[in-house]
Symmetry: C2
Subunit: 104 residues, 2 copies
């Protein structure tokens, strides 16, 4: 499918508390993710860029030295190699995340 | 800058009738674009994936054999090599578009 209605998309469990649907092309992975309340990634890094847009809810993101609570219609860009993490609060968060597809 | 508020972002003219701001990393280009009314790209293709999310307005997109008018909170994924084009109507369209950064 090349078009997604992000409000009606059927997601599947990706990890506990994280629902997802991904489109995987030759170079890019686009994923719609719904992250439950009170979830956290304390931080990691990888050798490729990653970016995304928040659609619903609030998520705290830390990218390198910058920390910010993102709301709907806010976007992030994580440069290759920069440590980043995130945390959700009381409400679920829906976002679309895009990253480079890794060579197999 | 790693965070964008897409409602307050300052855009610059990219082409006549198209305002844009882009973040360019090692692998990805994320661009917020505002396309004026009555603009059109009749179609082209390229050897890398491209995807995006509509934030405001309506845009008709043709990707391969599929044609659809996209509204806010709808997303598209254009696979490498697939011919695609778009058309705007009476209102401007704001979207975020992500594509692979081309090797120089």
């Amino acid at each position: 499918m090349v078009f997604w209605n992000l409000e009606k998309l059927d997601l599947e469990e990706f990890r506990p508390g994280i629902m997802s649907k991904a489109e995987i092309g030759s170079n890019l992975i686009m994923a719609c993710m719904e992250i439950g309340p009170g979830k956290e990634d304390t931080g990691h890094s990888h050798a490729f860029d990653q970016c995304g847009i928040v659609l619903e809810g609030q998520i705290e993101m830390v990218i390198g030295e910058e920390r910010r609570v993102l709301h709907p219609k806010e976007a992030y860009f994580i440069r290759s190699g920069v440590r980043h993490g995130w945390k959700t609060f009381r409400d679920p968060v829906k976002l679309v995340d895009i990253s480079l597809k890794q060579p197999v």
